[in-house]
Assembly symmetry: D2
Homo-oligomer: 391 residues x 4
């Protein structure tokens, strides 16, 4: 197809695109049934960052690593930051943890007991300290609070408690900080989550102020939910702060982004591109949040970055003029066809070419496989406790 050539602007947009990696994707993960350990898995945040840097090395698109507190607690964040910088990456968002302390069994920021709520707020103050120590600007809060049984607690009272706790956290932010709030349909709570949907997340952000934005995890919706509509709506409100990319067939499966429904990923990126929200200064942070339960973690992250790049390249190939004209004239098939034309294009040669221009191997997965890194970490990382969600 003739349009498999990018405009100069589109080329530039692709080269400028960045995707943030989660440190925890390099540790072991699994289901409630079993966590299968993989050889060579990192034992500490330094090793996680080293692995993440491999992804960036072969894609030049993943220059930041999100940390998760307390999983990535360390005595010396300056050393961790320097370590990252040495490897060509830097620290990204700081993620808080409200689901693994015994006190949080019945809630954290929404708990009936003010002592537990204070503890949850204080944890975020600690995270703000980590932000200051690492230069991170995003505090990411996913609220696992919720109820398993009808009547277990008061739905409205929990919203009020939540608003109060969020306000205390928000007040602790520096001017350049953002509070990035994530919603989730269900799990770990099985009757009602306290932030189950984008509407609830947005209402809390609106109440807090301009530094509060919503993070959209692509796996956190009810079956059939039109995610690109939410993207468009949050962009229209100026409150789409970030993506947690992954993919799912059923629930929050946390598979590699683009693996379950590559067309959906394309549609999401089409909304992003249409709204001019692809640029690094758009305020939208593109992050991965995935669990590689059965596949090797570093190549799975590489593959995920490539999947996002391919969806983005396709979105950039959309013939906007043709699309708009068909939409304006009510040409349903023509408008749909204009979108599908871009989606059906094979952008892999184009992306391989771009990589070569940057001095990269055209095939990041092959380059990584040939590097010997996988064998090296298996050989070297013997002993110690492998990182994982429960670390």
């Amino acid at each position: 197809m003739s349009h498999a050539e990018l405009s100069a602007d589109a080329r530039q947009a692709l080269l400028a695109q960045t995707i943030e990696l989660p440190s925890w994707a390099f540790g072991n993960s699994g289901t409630r049934f079993k966590v299968f350990a993989q050889e060579g898995v990192p034992r500490d945040p330094f090793e996680k960052i080293a692995d993440a840097a491999q992804v960036n090395r072969y894609t030049a698109t993943a220059p930041r690593v999100s940390l998760h507190i307390p999983w990535d607690l360390t005595d010396d964040y300056a050393a961790l930051s320097a370590h990252a910088k040495d490897l060509g990456v830097e620290i990204g968002a700081i993620n808080s943890n409200l689901f693994q302390d015994d006190d949080y069994m019945l809630g954290s920021l929404t708990h009936p007991d003010p002592i537990v709520r204070k503890k949850a707020v204080d944890h975020h103050l600690q995270c703000v300290d980590v932000m200051r120590a690492t230069g991170s600007t995003d505090l990411k809060l996913w609220l696992p609070d919720g109820l398993n049984y009808p009547g277990q607690d008061n739905l409205r009272a929990r919203q009020d408690r939540l608003a109060e706790g969020l306000a205390e956290i928000y007040a602790a932010l520096d001017p350049e900080h953002r509070l990035v709030i994530e919603y989730k349909f269900f799990e770990p709570a099985f009757y009602s989550m306290d932030i189950p949907d984008w509407g609830t997340a947005l209402l809390h952000c609106l109440a807090l102020g301009p530094q509060a934005v919503v993070v959209l995890d692509t796996g956190h919706h009810a079956p059939g939910t039109n995610i690109e509509f939410i993207v468009a709506q949050l962009l229209r409100q100026g409150r789409l702060g970030a993506f947690d990319f992954n993919s799912r067939f059923y629930a929050d499966d946390d598979l590699m982004v683009g693996a379950a429904d590559p067309f959906q990923l394309f549609r999401i990126m089409h909304e992003i591109v249409s709204a001019g929200a692809l640029a690094p200064d758009s305020g939208v942070s593109f992050m991965l949040d995935q669990c590689h339960n059965i596949e090797p973690k570093i190549p799975a992250q590489i593959r995920s970055v490539m999947n996002v790049q391919e969806a983005t390249a396709k979105a950039l190939l959309v013939d906007t003029a043709a699309l708009d004209a068909a939409q304006q004239s009510g040409d349903v098939l023509g408008a749909n066809g204009a979108l599908m034309d871009a989606y059906n294009t094979d952008v892999r040669p184009l992306l391989a070419g771009l990589r070569e221009e940057q001095g990269l191997h055209p095939d990041p997965l092959a380059a990584y496989a040939a590097s010997g890194y996988a064998e090296k970490i298996v050989a070297e990382r013997v002993g110690g406790a492998q990182a994982g969600w429960g670390a």
Copy 2:
């Protein structure tokens, strides 16, 4: 169980409860496959109101009838109102219709063509005139607009057009009027609805002003959605304007309210009662919106009113002190048990007793069946065109 006795306040609340009936529930309805006609179905709004009045006659709880324009257009609204009053009921909300005009195939308020959008706005101005003629205070707008195919139109542009059209409609309201906006997950659009969820409906209401509120149709959500959470959230925002009650197993099945999941209906009413939103002056209008495709329509409406009454009575029976105490102390089973205790109570004797005190037959369905009304309308309503969705 000893607590199957209502407090004086609860008794009063039950007696004061009203449920609004939809005129269209008395006409024929069906699926895209077939509309099965029923004998005795009304041929005009006067006959619909007569049927609705039967429901009120045996329940004393359904004193208002929603109209749908243009299905219920008439030359003489004064006569229609007087007819209603004669039968002991009055005109309720005025519902607009944006889905049956050929011009609306690709949208109404969100259509790319400003001429079509103006037509859709003008239709609402006509509805406001009907409100003035009937004394109705609620203009109910369900937006069927949406897309069947990705790319068919611009998701964000449609939100902008919608906001513009709603603002024009809002500007036409009298001070005592409300604009009641309904959302729907899908159907008739199969890729993206323009108001698919409560978050979108609420954002438009917030942009419009205090006279705009959300109507929650219990059948308009994704599978698994926790509806009582949305009720709590909208009440907390002061923007729950009304319910369209019905029930569903799958999509927007429009079955009798309480038929598919009576426990859910109870949980919804529990949120209402907890928030003090049951009273007629609470601003929440309780309406039915159902399709009786295969069952006789008048008894189906009676049954539906009874189902709401039973769920309400159970919600009023909740031992609030015990529930709060269990919630505060983290007693999961105790708190759930306090709620279930009320749900598991058989409130039918209690409601039968209340009816007798009001001079009603304790069993509204039996009383209606014995009245001969069903046979009468079959005999009398011969000839003419039966009312239906397409009327």
Copy 3:
């Protein structure tokens, strides 16, 4: 990508592939809310077949047209067959209708009343006569029977009645006939369908005998259902008789196949190709069953045929040896990558080339648009009653 070249066998398979068109896709269709009429729509089965022949003219892949009885009843099937032959197509499956007779409001083959059941059986005997008159070999039965309310009828008794009725129909088949039984998750029944899933359809087929097979409509499943698994399972049992292709985001949306989830369509075709079930003599009939509510019908059918061809071409491009090797060695990413490699290939140039070799225009949609046929039928088909579901 180097493998965007088909083997000779794959080329042959693509050329031999046929997709059957539904006569009713050329008539008007819609939702329960509204059927938007389109200009130029056929008024009788002869005109429907003429339109269907247009699809075949530009794709050379759609040589059969399914009829629906009674919508396509005619006095002279010989004339209808000859008409089809003149236009280069022939009559395909005969579809019965169990949902539009007033007697069927509460069921047809499962109705409590034996007189209604007999009527439903007799209708199929009439359909068998049409098969004999048209040379059709497939009797397609979609059972719309079911319940809207718990308790409405006896679930088990309905299965017994169904088995009895199916046996009578089966007994009337000629040796070369097949009974093709379709299942559906919900709609038009909203509590329980009498054949809701593939398991139920298959059990009835097994009880009937080898001439009974299952038809899989891609829109007739619960959210999240893995359809290619069902394809694999039915093929393994030797009972996959046909597809009703379409696509959906929510329920039975009946959108163009491949429009909602092109990756799913590819996975389905991969199962077909893997099992050697693509060949015309495999016993699997590939049919479309779609509703073009808002888009023009003939180009929508052309587009649908092209979508199936593209998915098929991609499935034929899978590097089976690489896939098998990765699967055997437990290389999760490699195996998934082998599949995605084929999916991500742009097969449109390849298919355009094949068309040119056949003497067709490389772009069927453009060729149809240039033909003037659309304008011609709008001009000619004035007066008369347009065909539609309710015809």
Copy 4:
């Protein structure tokens, strides 16, 4: 309501009803995010059985305990059985475990490697030995095998391997043994389970022979699935072997049975009662399979047993003659009303009375709470490793 009196037969049926408890419900459980430990949790199978016996002590309805191998492995099954007998209960079904051995990461009975498959078969032979040692007659097999990614393995080949493995296991059964096969929609596999639905489970049972039956876990279905239809269908085929009772709002939430949708549980029990499948000799084993993540385990099991009893009592109260008559005459509202009449009855007084006649406390939860057992196990069970899913 006058019919809140049971017939003598119904009384007898309720007294004869038994519900089997899972040993693992008394250990710690949780989500992939966190397992919250509870004080007093058993450390070994002997303590689990002691806890289970408490449930039976206050309900007289839970006389059997399912074991899970290897979680409940012991050197001396004679001692375990004697221990159970001393406490008034006995060993029930033996559950195998195919999800926690490192070799099973990519499958067990369906694994591409025959060595892994043999290991999985051998594990079941070990389980058969446990059956012989304990007198258990049911071998329960839940297959967690499946794929996370399209292409990861060959869907059909896995069915063939599964059939082969099941045949070897089946061949090892004694004549009085049953192989009880469970299906699950998703989790732990996130693309395709190898036994995802009742159809697949049943096909394997049919291929194996009469000793193979299906177990229906109420949480293992797609959203919206009509479970009572499956119950009716499996009963009709004579292959409903057992229930794993629990409840869910979203996925496999494993909440207390009847907690999420008590009306559904009633409808299930109505199918059971209608088919005469309630009796202990019906071949249907009623078991619980739940996770009490945040609520105390023993009272949660008591509550669950009571919920099943209440649903059963309501099902036994259905006025069968009235229901049948309404169904036969097409009286939709009457038939639904007959069912709802039973459901809306408060059966708790009736069940309390039955308990008193048996010499039990009318309120099992209160009796357990007053017994001091909870405090006793917290005090005594200090040290050791608490049992849990990962034990």
